[in-house]
């Protein structure tokens, strides 16, 4: 529904362009302007955005395609801001800037870099390190927007199917598919049945309040144990690996939503639930959205700092002395503020990160043909007695984020304060031991742990990964090329990130603080601890609505041209579509190949 205060759309504001949009074109307009554009910023824009992180970049593209004139700046000389993908040299600079207090909302940055990077066998540019790494669920709002905006064409995506849960000193590979659940020798029949019953329920949990409502205020663990009689191991897998929840207290509705997210994403593009982008995560995606915004007419200027904005005169002043009139709104990332910014929302939550580059390919953790894995350390699984989960996202050389023979380990926790680093260190130690044991040649001839695949090839199986390495004493050590600790602050708590109200309250400051350089500025949120991109679109839409008046035409772009690839994606925003008619087929998944529907794989 169009709200009455809604700003005119691109069509209404630029009738000539609209006229073109009506006639299908073979190619879009490519004719340029007669005179070279002056290399100065425009005098007047609708929206000024400072900071080129994920939310700001998605917003810039949405606004540009809606028809707003956008000036998008970043005080850094690179794209990405809080979402940047950086080389090792850039990381060094970034760490220094954090410790000099030049990048607000980050602190305690500690960096070790081996001399082999730069002077030895590796170059700084061989690495792309994400300061806020993310994975993309294949059924998610961001994925639909990537397709709709065609930003996906600028990117390359790869699959990630291995989710490991760390328990009793060992890595257990997640039993992903129904087939795996059924062939899993270790699972008793009763457990299999209970698990299947739960999976069937969770796909449509919202329609069955009679089942979960009595547990609405309880923890998901209680619900799974009492209502579905699940065993601890399955409960942990469901909550922490599939649901990627942060602690055992996670409430039922939120956890159910997160568990379903994984299950509905499974098999959309193949037998895996998530994707990641090559060459870097959100750093690449934000560049893609910025490019899209530029194509839609936005002006880009890196190395530009906003010094002040006067909401009355609508004048924005930059560090280089230039000025611009901003007709609608100024949007700013908390990292882009200056000393007179007094309206930045509080950022009370800490995210602690430890990122390591190791000289190991870590292929033992990856599925065949893949270069990434998730490892989750549930509460209580680490030596440190961790209360919160530690999540680890592992990227191998196939991601092109690091050279061959190396990998990047991204570890993070929502634990607050000094405990956090202890948990991260404990997780690192566990991963080190695990990879040494699994890649060790001592074990090569052990028939118990090598399985033969259908064509006689050896496969590294989950039994091998699942074996405890308690007794194992490694002969070698993992060689670290880089180790980076830092703490980031955010206003977004690490749960419920798809709830717009979380972002609403951060955005607007109605106060007028005398002497503040940012009265009237809308702030974006710092990235939360969420490992998926799930918060981005929700947060961008909240801002979009504040500027345009409604989010009806958020990425309502229709490209008339085209190119051979547009088969039209599934409507990824509609979960129900993918999970209907579950009662048709009750024969333990026989004939699963006849159904292209995802439920064909998962239901009993």
């Amino acid at each position: 529904m169009l709200s009455p205060e809604r700003r005119p759309s691109m069509a209404e504001r630029r009738p000539s362009i609209f006229a073109h949009a009506l006639t299908p074109l073979v190619v879009p307009h490519l004719a340029g302007i007669e005179d070279p554009l002056p290399a100065t910023t425009p005098e007047k824009v609708d929206v000024l955005i400072a900071g080129s992180g994920m939310v700001e970049s998605v917003l810039a593209a949405a606004l540009a395609w809606q028809g707003s004139t956008v000036l998008h700046i970043d005080k850094n000389d690179y794209y990405g801001d809080t979402a940047a993908t950086l080389t090792v040299d850039q990381i060094k600079r970034w760490v220094n800037e954090i410790n000099d207090g030049k990048i607000p909302y980050y602190e305690n940055a500690k960096l070790y870099v081996s001399t082999e990077i730069g002077n030895g066998k590796y170059n700084s540019r061989d690495f792309g390190i994400d300061i806020s790494p993310k994975i993309l669920f294949t059924k998610s709002d961001l994925l639909s927007i990537l397709v709709k905006s065609r930003v996906h064409q600028y990117l390359e995506f790869q699959s990630l199917s291995n989710f490991h849960t760390y328990e009793n000193d060992s890595f257990e590979k997640l039993t992903n598919t129904k087939q795996e659940i059924f062939v899993d020798q270790k699972l008793p029949l009763m457990t299999k049945r209970n698990l299947m019953k739960f999976i069937k329920f969770v796909l449509n949990w919202e329609e069955q309040p009679e089942i979960w409502k009595p547990f609405a205020e309880k923890s998901i663990a209680e619900f799974l144990i009492e209502k579905f009689k699940l065993e601890r191991a399955q409960v942990f897998e469901l909550i922490f690996s599939i649901g990627l929840c942060y602690n055992i207290e996670t409430k039922v509705p939120e956890a159910l939503q997160r568990i379903r997210r994984y299950l509905t994403s499974f098999d959309v593009y193949g037998p895996f639930p998530v994707l990641y982008s090559k060459y870097g995560g959100p750093g690449e995606l934000s560049q893609g959205f910025c490019r899209s915004a530029a194509v839609g007419g936005a002006t880009y200027k890196l190395n530009e700092t906003l010094v002040s904005y006067n909401a009355t005169t609508k004048e924005a002043v930059f560090a280089d002395g230039s000025k611009v009139s901003v007709m609608e709104k100024v949007i700013m990332s908390p990292t882009q503020v200056n000393q007179n910014s007094k309206n930045v929302p509080e950022q009370p939550y800490q995210i602690h990160r430890l990122t390591c580059i190791v000289e190991k390919d870590c292929k033992e953790w990856f599925s065949e043909g893949e270069s990434a894995a998730m490892v989750v350390f549930p509460p209580g699984s680490l030596k440190s007695g961790n209360k919160q989960v530690v999540q680890a996202f592992i990227l191998g050389a196939g991601s092109e984020c690091c050279p061959s023979g190396t990998s990047i380990w991204y570890m993070s926790t929502t634990e607050q304060g000094v405990r956090a680093e202890m948990d991260l260190d404990a997780a690192l130690e566990a991963m080190e031991l695990s990879i040494l044991r699994e890649s060790s040649t001592d074990l090569e001839n052990d028939n118990d742990i090598v399985q033969f695949g259908m064509n006689g090839q050896t496969v590294v199986n989950s039994v091998r990964l699942g074996q405890s390495f308690k007794e194992y004493v490694p002969r070698e050590k993992v060689h670290f090329l880089c180790k980076l600790y830092y703490t980031q602050y955010t206003s977004t708590p690490p749960f419920g990130v798809v709830d717009p109200s979380l972002f609403e309250k951060n955005v607007v400051s109605d106060k007028f603080i005398p002497g503040a350089s940012d009265n009237g500025v809308l702030y974006t949120s710092m990235p939360s601890a969420e490992i998926s991109y799930d918060e981005v679109v929700t947060a961008a839409k909240v801002l979009y609505e504040k500027i345009v008046g409604s989010d009806d035409d958020f990425f309502d772009v229709d490209f008339e041209d085209d190119d051979d690839t547009q088969a039209g994606p599934a409507d990824n925003s509609n979960y129900e579509n993918a999970i209907d008619d579950e009662d048709e087929d009750d024969d333990m998944g026989m004939g699963k190949n006849e159904s292209t529907e995802f439920v064909g794989e998962m239901e009993i």
Partner: protein
Amino acid sequence: MNSAVTSIKLVLLGEAAVGKSSIVLRFVSNDFSENKEPTIGAAFLTQRVNINDNTVKFEIWDTAGQERFASLAPMYYRNAQAALIVYDVTKPQSFIKARHWIKELHEQANKDMIIALVGNKVDVLENNEDERKVAREEGEKLAEEEGLLFFETSAKTGLNVTETFVAIGEKIPLKTAGDQETDSNGVAISDEQRIDLANSGNAAGQTAGCSC
């Protein structure tokens, strides 16, 4: 004989208004526009050409204006196997800018990138040689020093436009059917590894299911 299609990512560089977008428009849809519409649109165009029994698919990236404030993203150069550096033969300033872009590419881009230096708008000289401000020899010399292909073109008449792209295509190692995938160090874009987000298995299955 069924040969594989080689995809080549090609990026455009050059001062504003030298005719970058016009060259692409001429190449892709054999068209030219005198009018002054602002540059909007996909800025990512594809065109296939057959070169000696092989099909080459150009993925052509236009700058979208991000270069104006030195704000081109690394994504722009990444994996680009070819570049057109365009100047306007009637604008000496644009030739200076072309030198700047050559330097930038040597620093930022892949070492085996095929670069073509293109002096555009030669149609203007037809009636009036005085308009020429950059001698053909200057362009040739620069191209030779830097190891670039060189053409003088007109997007308006179409002179040498297709020839420029074909010459680039000829210099790029082509993928033949059955070729092993190469590491992405600049050779061919490996479409096989990519997961195409616009084509989910499910979506395809659902739409293809209905033949009514």
